[in-house]
Every structure is written in C-alpha cells, then in structure tokens.
C-alpha cells in the first residue's frame, strides 16, 4: 500500500471515530452540550473530507474562492434568519 493510500485510510478511521463520538455524545451528554459537540464534530468531519479527500490543502486560491463564497452566503442566511426564531422563542 502506498503512503498516499495509507493516508486516506487513516483519514477514514478518523471519520468513523468521529461518527462514534457524535453518537455517544447524543446519548450521554445533556441536550445543549450534545448539540454543540455533535455539530462541532460534523464540521470536523466535513473539514477532513474537504481537505484530504477533495485535496483542498493542495488547491489554489481560485478553488477556495469558488467554494467559500456560497458558504458565506449560507452563513449570512442563517444569521439573517436568527432574529425570526428568537422572536418566536421569546413569544412562547
């Protein structure tokens, strides 16, 4: 097995380990703490796939720009809609 293939296999073990961690967190931790951990772990898994399997670590600024601009828009959408659900929460 080449060094590159071994590297991909190690990333896969990390990904599976992180899935186990998020499921364990959902069972063991209180809901609010579990949410934070579960979505941090999901972000870490996405980062590992993008950086190592999609080879973002070797890409030029152009690819980063193409990938990050729509992500920024989604983040803006999330922030823009936050006041709406806070309003509904406070009315309950």
């Amino acid at each position: 097995m080449s060094a590159q293939s071994r590297h991909y296999l190690i990333i896969w073990f990390w990904l599976v380990g992180l899935v186990v961690l998020s499921v364990a967190a959902a069972w063991i931790l209180p809901k609010s703490q579990a949410w934070v951990l579960i979505f941090t772990v999901a972000g870490a898994k996405a980062f590992l796939v993008a950086r190592h399997y999609m080879h973002l670590k070797d890409e030029t600024w152009l690819i980063y720009a193409i990938a990050l601009v729509p992500l920024a828009f989604v983040f803006v959408l999330l922030i823009a809609l936050f006041p709406d659900f806070v309003y509904h929460l406070t009315r309950r």
Binding site: S2, Q4, S5, Y8, L9, I11, W12, L15, V16, V19, S22, V23, A26, A34, W35, I38, F39, V41, A42, K45, A46, V49, A50, H52, Y53, M54, H55, T60, W61, L62, I63, I66, A67, V69, P70, L71, F73, V74, L77, L78, L81, F82, D84, F85, H88, L89
Partner: protein
C-alpha cells in the same frame, strides 16, 4: 486531453476541475438553504424532537458508514489512476458503486418502514423536510452512481487512460454528497 484555464494570478487550473467546483458551489446554496430553513424552523418550533425520535438510527448509522467508506474507496481509485494502475482504479470504482447502491437500498428500506408506520411527506413539517432533504440527497447519490459506473466500465476496458483526471472530478462530486450527509445525519437523527 486535459484543457487548462489560466487564473488571474497566471497559475494553471484544469478547466474541468474549476467547472466541477463551480457546479458544487451552486449546490451549496441548494442544500444550505434547506439546512438553514430546517435549523431555524426547528429552533423556533416545537414537536420536532418527538417526530425525529421515530427515525431509525441504526439504518442511518449504517448508511453513514457506507458513504464514508465510499468516499475513501473513490479517493483510492484516484490514487490508483495517478499510479497508472487502471485495473485497481476500476476495482475501487466498482466498490464505490456497490457502496452507493447499498446506501440507496438501505434508504429505500428506511422509507418503507416509515411509510408503513404512517409517516408520509404530508404528516407534518418535520416529515416534509425529512423526505425533501433525504430524497434530494438520494437523487444526488443516484446521479453519482451513474457517473462512477461509467468511469468504472471505462477503466476496466482500459479506455480511461487519456482522461484519468475524470475520476478526480467524479470524486469531488461524490465527496460533496458525502459532506451533505455528514450534516443531514446529526440534524435529522441525533439532534
């Protein structure tokens, strides 16, 4: 033949790769919009956790394992083609196709169980989101399977040699589909 596109700083980028990233960037608002709507509505409403408790976590866990493994096998196919080992690339692509098909079969089984229990897309807002998001994702998996199958046949026949970079492009799409599932899984099954 691989065509290159010159970027503004003068560096060369395979045109197919930039095009694939453009395509994926157009997919981000599609899935991102759905995920954000789901999060906002769920945080502002009630009864979502009760509805999601009817989902089958075991099937979803198995599907997560299948998709993560298929991401690894397609990147192994890419590594094989970089080493000019097209037969090995074909084997890894075949494995990727099998794992993708297994994902869809498991998803169909899960839908069957939920429908038998009376949970249909019109059974409530959670179920509308659930079927909408996972159905759209499953369609993407199906499209990826077709692309990977075509590449697998080409690699097995030895006709992929001048276009080996296509495995990387198919892989980018497949990994994106995997990343979407990475967020769908906790949002629907764990939260």
């Amino acid at each position: 033949m691989v065509t290159n596109a010159r970027t503004m700083d003068g560096s060369l980028e395979p045109a197919g790769k930039a095009g694939t990233w453009w395509f994926l960037s157009s997919e981000i608002p599609t899935f991102g919009g759905l995920l954000v709507s789901y999060i906002v509505l769920r945080l502002g409403g009630s009864g979502w956790a009760e509805a999601s408790s009817h989902l089958n976590l075991n099937i979803a866990l198995a599907n997560t394992f299948l998709l993560l493994t298929s991401s690894m096998t397609i990147v192994m196919a890419h590594a094989a083609v970089q080493e000019n080992d097209h037969k090995r690339a074909a084997k890894f692509l075949a494995l990727t196709v099998l794992l993708g098909l297994s994902f869809l079969i498991m998803k169909a089984l899960e839908y069957g169980v939920e429908i038998r229990h009376g949970f249909l897309p019109g059974s409530g807002i959670f179920w509308s989101f659930y079927y909408g998001m996972t159905g759209l994702h499953a369609l993407h998996v199906f499209a990826g399977i077709i692309v990977n199958l075509v590449l697998c046949i080409q690699a097995a026949r030895g006709s992929l040699a001048p276009n080996g970079h296509r495995i990387e492009l198919a892989g980018l799409y497949w990994h994106f589909v995997d990343i979407v599932w990475i967020f769908l899984f906790p949002l629907l099954y764990l939260a």
